[in-house]
């Protein structure tokens, strides 16, 4: 079996490195996949896997949830969003709770569904709450293109899109945790390619591998990182070659760049990170829900005692938090990392609570 050969190689490399290795998986899908495949059980104890800031739903700022709920309660408005946003708590309630109180919120599987609904219900204003990394932003840009073409007058975007590279830069700049290697998100890189990550190796000397999500992908990604560490030659490599090209998907990138521009963004648990979000360009403000609906809501405080900020930065693991599994559960999440199924606390809760 191929994965057995990889496991053997990982063992050999770990022995030759001869000290503990800390790897961080950036993406929430990786966190879940690592648990699902039982990766920790088949790699040497010297390798620890830390979860990074990589679930866009989790890091959606409390204030954005509050503002979106307020918009959804305005007469004639319908807020549409992806399913896993529904449980994310605002300062007082989540979309689910607001919906139960009568706010108009609907789950869609694609922003195009929201646009279609808008076109079929011209007496309503349909706002799409857009959240996600570079993987989802092209589909939002594509939907805007269609909305523009169709002349849709009652469709809006509330963008809370985030960018991965600035968050990684902020993480490394803080210097709070030693990271020996980064497992980079395969899905995001299908869009961006690997160039936006080159700084990791050139400026910060951190080995990085763009990795897929199968068991063998992840093991191979870890093996490639260990090879870089052992030879002390940090670079940005692609393990997930069947999906990721070096140049990414230039068409998708140019679509994003047509409609969006980077802006400073607030990450739940991490605070403000420069140039880490995407907002609609001024010439498209007609579609921008943050400009079209006048909502004045105070800034929200993040819950005290919650350790998500430390978890997202790889300083603590979820079980270090006093709230974990007690007052903070997937049913009643308090912190960012518990809210989406791909948050690191939710993954620890679901798969690994009583892990060795």
């Amino acid at each position: 079996m191929k994965d057995k050969r990889i496991q053997k190689k990982i063992k050999g490399l770990t022995d030759s490195i001869g000290k503990p290795v800390k790897l961080m998986e950036v993406c929430g899908t990786h966190t879940v996949a690592i648990f699902k495949h039982g990766i920790r059980d088949v790699i040497p104890k010297e390798i620890s896997l830390l979860s990074g800031p990589g679930c866009p739903v989790c890091v959606t700022a409390i204030k954005d949830v509050d503002v979106a709920i307020a918009i959804s309660k305005m007469n004639g408005n319908i807020l549409s969003t992806f399913g896993d946003m529904m449980r994310v708590p605002g300062s007082k309630q989540s979309f689910f709770h607001a919906q139960a109180e009568g706010a108009n919120i609907m789950i869609v599987y694609s922003p195009m569904d929201a646009l279609k609904f808008a076109q079929e219900n011209r007496d309503r204003k349909v706002i799409f709450f857009a959240t996600g990394f570079e993987t989802t932003s092209p589909s939002i840009a594509g939907t805007l293109y269609e909305a523009q073409k169709a002349g849709a007058q009652n469709f809006y975007i509330y963008s809370t899109h985030k960018l991965v590279p600035p968050a990684l830069k902020a993480l490394l700049d803080s210097g709070e945790v030693r990271i020996d290697g980064l497992i980079l998100p395969g899905h995001v890189c299908t869009i961006t390619g690997c160039r936006p990550y080159d700084f990791l190796a050139s400026d910060y000397k951190v080995p990085s591998v763009i990795t897929g999500f199968g068991a063998e992908d992840i093991l191979q990604g870890i093996m490639m990182l260990l090879e870089q560490i052992a030879s002390n030659r940090p670079s940005v490599e692609i393990q997930y070659k069947r999906a990721v090209r070096e140049e990414g998907n230039p068409k998708a990138v140019s679509l994003i760049n047509e409609y969006f521009e980077p802006c400073d963004a607030n990450w739940r648990g991490l605070g403000s990170i420069p140039q880490s979000g995407l907002k609609l360009k001024d010439k498209y403000s007609r579609w921008d829900a943050t400009k079209q609906f006048d909502i004045d809501i105070p800034d929200a405080q993040e819950p005290k005692a919650c350790q998500c900020g430390f978890v997202l930065r790889g300083i603590k693991i979820p079980t270090d938090c006093p709230l974990f599994g007690k007052t903070c559960t997937p049913e009643r999440p308090i912190g960012a990392c518990m809210v989406s199924s791909e948050g690191s606390c939710a993954a620890y809760f679901k798969y690994g609570r009583r892990d060795k």
């Binding site: 994965d3 496991q7 899908t29 648990f35 699902k36 495949h37 039982g38 990766i39 920790r40 059980d41 088949v42 866009p56 739903v57 992806f82 399913g83 896993d84 946003m85 529904m86 449980r87 789950i107 599987y109 569904d113 959240t131 996600g132 990394f133 993987t135 989802t136 899905h187 995001v188 068991a215 063998e216 093991l219 559960t329 997937p330 049913e331 989406s340 199924s341 791909e342 809760f349 679901k350 798969y351 690994g352 609570r353 009583r354 892990d355």
Partner: protein, 332 residues
């Protein structure tokens, strides 16, 4: 197009006409008294169950709400080892519901009852104002009889018992989700909705050492196994590579970020049985059309108590927990 009107639930002539023309003939109701009077339920223990069906869309690849309502109740009775006999049906119809759709649902229920060899003996219809329902809701209740020596309950689960699964997982949930969201798969994923009573009958002919049995509907296989583990106080360990997941289900789950272990089924069962009868039982189940993919997927151990563990394909282990609510598709 003929539609359901509020008057169809009024108790007056419109309702009587609806019942006489559409309900009674399909369900072989001979008299329309206030209660059905039943025979043949006095021997042995009686099993009684009820369930409501609100599935949307009501027609989906591989089935519809009508047959689901019949099979669901037949299966609930079967899972305690009962022979299902009689079913009652309650309809809540929304004003404006197309009569043609109602006819389709009723015919499908009649066919399902015939296929499952049960009789629909009593019913009720209410009509609610437009906007107060979702077309059609159905409640079915059913009774069956359990032979004396049969006792199926998680409290009988023992260490060393084997876990048997009768077929591939995830088909029903994915067929509903794909219909809801306009997703198509090649080949299409069809609901597995089916009556399991004849499969159970064949199983109980072979052995009475079926200790626990359930059909893993909402919450999927994971939830059912976790219920077994919690109720019995033992650990259930299953192997990922032994659990059949059809390629369409696998693809859809990858696309939507779902875990097939938590996706609903309507035509499979999972049983915990004594190890000495396992081989014989699996062989017998494989002969039944609904059990041809039957296999052992795991076993019962003492510890860790109340937990379900899954051995992954690469040799790791993970915990299988219940979900807090619905599985929600992820975004990336």
């Amino acid at each position: 197009m003929d539609r359901i009107l509020l008057g169809h639930g009024s108790g007056g002539t419109m309702m009587h006409k609806l019942i006489r023309e559409h309900f009674a003939p399909r369900f072989e109701m001979k008299s329309l008294n206030d209660s059905a009077v039943l025979e043949g339920v006095s021997k042995g223990k009686i099993a009684l169950t009820t369930d409501s069906y609100v599935v949307s869309p009501i027609f989906f690849p591989g089935g519809n709400i009508g047959e689901l309502a019949v099979y669901g109740t037949v299966n609930d009775l079967s899972m305690v080892g009962a022979k299902p006999l009689y079913i009652t049906v309650g309809f809540i119809l929304e004003e404006g519901f197309p009569l043609d759709d109602l006819k389709k649902v009723l015919s499908s229920m009649a066919d399902a009852a015939e296929k499952a060899d049960v009789k629909i003996v009593a019913g009720d219809t209410k009509v609610v104002n437009k906007g107060k329902g979702d077309g059609i809701f159905i409640n079915t209740s059913g009774i069956g009889i359990i032979k004396d020596r049969i006792d199926i309950s998680p409290s009988r689960v023992k260490i060393g018992d084997k876990v048997i699964l009768s077929g591939p997982i995830g088909n029903h949930g994915i067929s509903i989700m794909s219909e809801r969201n306009g997703l198509t798969f090649e080949p299409p994923v069809l609901s597995d909705t089916a009556p399991l009573n004849s499969l159970v009958r064949d199983m109980l002919k072979i052995t009475k050492k079926v200790h626990a049995m359930r059909d893993p509907t909402r919450g999927g296989l994971a939830t059912t196994l976790k219920e077994f583990a919690t109720d019995s106080g033992y650990c259930i360990i299953i192997e990922e590579k032994l659990i059949p997941v059809p390629s369409g289900v696998k693809g859809a789950c990858e696309l939507l970020g779902l875990d097939p272990l938590y996706v609903a089924n309507e035509g499979i069962l999972v049983a915990i049985v004594s190890p000495d009868v396992t081989e014989k039982l699996v062989k017998a189940m494989k002969k039944h059309p609904l059990g041809k993919d039957t296999r052992v997927i795991g076993e019962v151990r003492k510890a860790p108590e109340g937990m379900v563990l899954l051995k992954t394909s690469i040799g790791g282990t993970r915990i299988v927990e219940m979900l807090s609510g619905d599985q929600l598709p992820r975004i990336c």
